[in-house]
Symmetry: C2
Subunit: 307 residues, 2 copies
């Protein structure tokens, strides 16, 4: 404590060292009411996006001496179950980082009844610090890139995921996609929403589905790089050349996108994580409550002008 005489302090420190004393966490937490740990909820931990967020959050929190406990919550059903646990979580964590976790206003109120600090990553949230990209604009720009290259028959892959996690993030990207088409006077055809979720293993299905179309698209917008990369593998197997036969644009700028020459919408994922952790550490919000981090189209080789 602040007002202890130096001599006394030294004696205490020396004795503690000699006895190998270490503070008992549970005891200090019970007495102080502080847990010194932050929770992080995310749908999956085995995908690239989450691993980058996690690394960003972890580096900032550990530097600040805080612990990180992780919760995996993958379906809307699990989401409600998790929220029901929040009252008991308030005695275990000081704050909660929401990663692609989309509570409705009632659910937010439920969390607010507990005293855990809240920071949302990936989507904006009322009354709490949140950091996200502009998914609408990102989806629009990615699609516009294909339009600028002369494509008019443009498909989209990854929309199936919507039915699983009801993600407003994906909804915004899809809206951006549609807006780009509309403003170019292109009609969005239903059959150009190709099957596929957001994993590598799901990529091939989008390419296989092309065979069933009489008038297949010449350009595809993938809502995730991992799906696009899986698709590139399948395209090669089928003898479909990218970008000669098919232009594709991904989303994320995955570590591997460059090696694959994948044109993609880059979002600064790790930075999202570290910034989120910093907002968590701030006692009160100084800047704007909602921050939008920039995205940028990285043109590599997978999308080219329509011949």
């Amino acid at each position: 404590m602040a007002h202890v005489a130096p001599a006394t302090r030294d004696r205490v420190i020396e004795a503690a060292a000699r006895l190998g004393w270490a503070p008992h966490f549970a005891a200090s937490r019970l007495a102080s009411g502080q847990t010194h740990t932050i929770g992080l909820v995310a749908p999956y931990f085995d995908i690239w996006y989450t691993s980058q967020i996690l690394a960003g959050v972890e580096s900032v929190l550990s530097a600040a001496g805080l612990d990180l406990v992780i919760y995996s919550v993958d379906t809307p059903g699990n989401r409600q179950k998790f929220l029901d646990r929040v009252p008991s979580l308030q005695t275990r964590i000081d704050g909660l980082v929401l990663v692609d976790f989309f509570p409705d206003p009632i659910q937010v109120a439920q969390i607010e009844e507990s005293k855990v600090r809240l920071v949302a990553l990936g989507e904006h949230l009322d009354r709490h610090p949140s950091i996200a990209i502009d998914n609408y604009e990102a989806g629009r720009k990615a699609t516009q890139h294909l339009i600028d290259l002369g494509h008019t028959k443009i498909g989209i892959v990854g929309t199936e995921q919507m039915s699983v996690d009801a993600s407003p993030v994906l909804a915004a990207r899809i809206d951006g996609f549609k807006a780009a088409l509309a403003s170019a006077g292109i009609e969005h055809r239903r059959e150009y929403s190709l099957p596929g979720m957001l994993s590598v293993n799901d990529g091939p299905r989008s390419i296989i589905a092309l065979r069933d179309l009489d008038d297949p698209p010449t350009g595809l917008f993938y809502l995730s790089d991992e799906t696009a990369i899986g698709a590139m593998g399948e395209a090669r197997r089928q003898g479909i050349s990218i970008p000669q036969d098919l232009s594709i644009v991904g989303f994320d700028d995955h570590d591997i996108a460059e090696a694959m020459r994948l044109t993609t919408m880059c979002q600064p994922v790790r930075y999202l994580g570290s910034l989120g952790a910093e907002r968590m550490l701030e006692a009160s919000v100084v800047g704007p409550l909602h921050e939008t981090v920039p995205v940028e189209l990285v043109a590599r080789g997978s999308a080219t002008t329509l011949r």
Copy 2:
């Protein structure tokens, strides 16, 4: 508790529900001495290997109602610092999962003084449950695959990582590599240890380094798929065809390996994680203390017969 009358139990449960009561974690932990949380230490959380381990561990622990707290410890220096914290950790976690964390016997003794349960993943550890692949054998087989294809000029990439994390895992793979060469009567040339660590971004360096060799290798064994994938991108940029000009074999069977047609040594990473978590849950070890999970060479298109 077991011997409470049903009527009383119901009244208590009803009252708790009515009052919105939830147990206070710190209090119950202080009183019981149990933390109901497991720690996981790993060098990096932003690589594929760790993300798969984490997902495997998390799924088993959360099903068992345990919390997971993660610690990132990347250098040998940090490793000692982390170990020095272990005495204080014993009041915060019941067990510790070591991922690619290689304590020497003295350090193990240090952990054993605390009462945390220990499970090691990736390398075997005396006196504690541990699960690993046979890295020597895996390295040998991967190299033998290239030898069987007729290659005699065989290089290796990823050995630089050794100087950073002094990994016995990599050391064993490298020993297996050398053993395969030796038993085929092939001398290992120093200049065939090409620069590169274990990340995607480090892959290109191995390909660039080939230019400086008068008599370059025709086959390369990459100690990680991520490095191999980065290298494949660089090879394409340089007009080096894989496998026509250069055969490569990776290690891991990364999600993306199939899309890249990468021949690789598959290790069941996620299973390693879930099995490790199960061992952590067991009150005492029933089976053998050390388990070795199988690996398998997956031949895709990136390595072919020498012409």
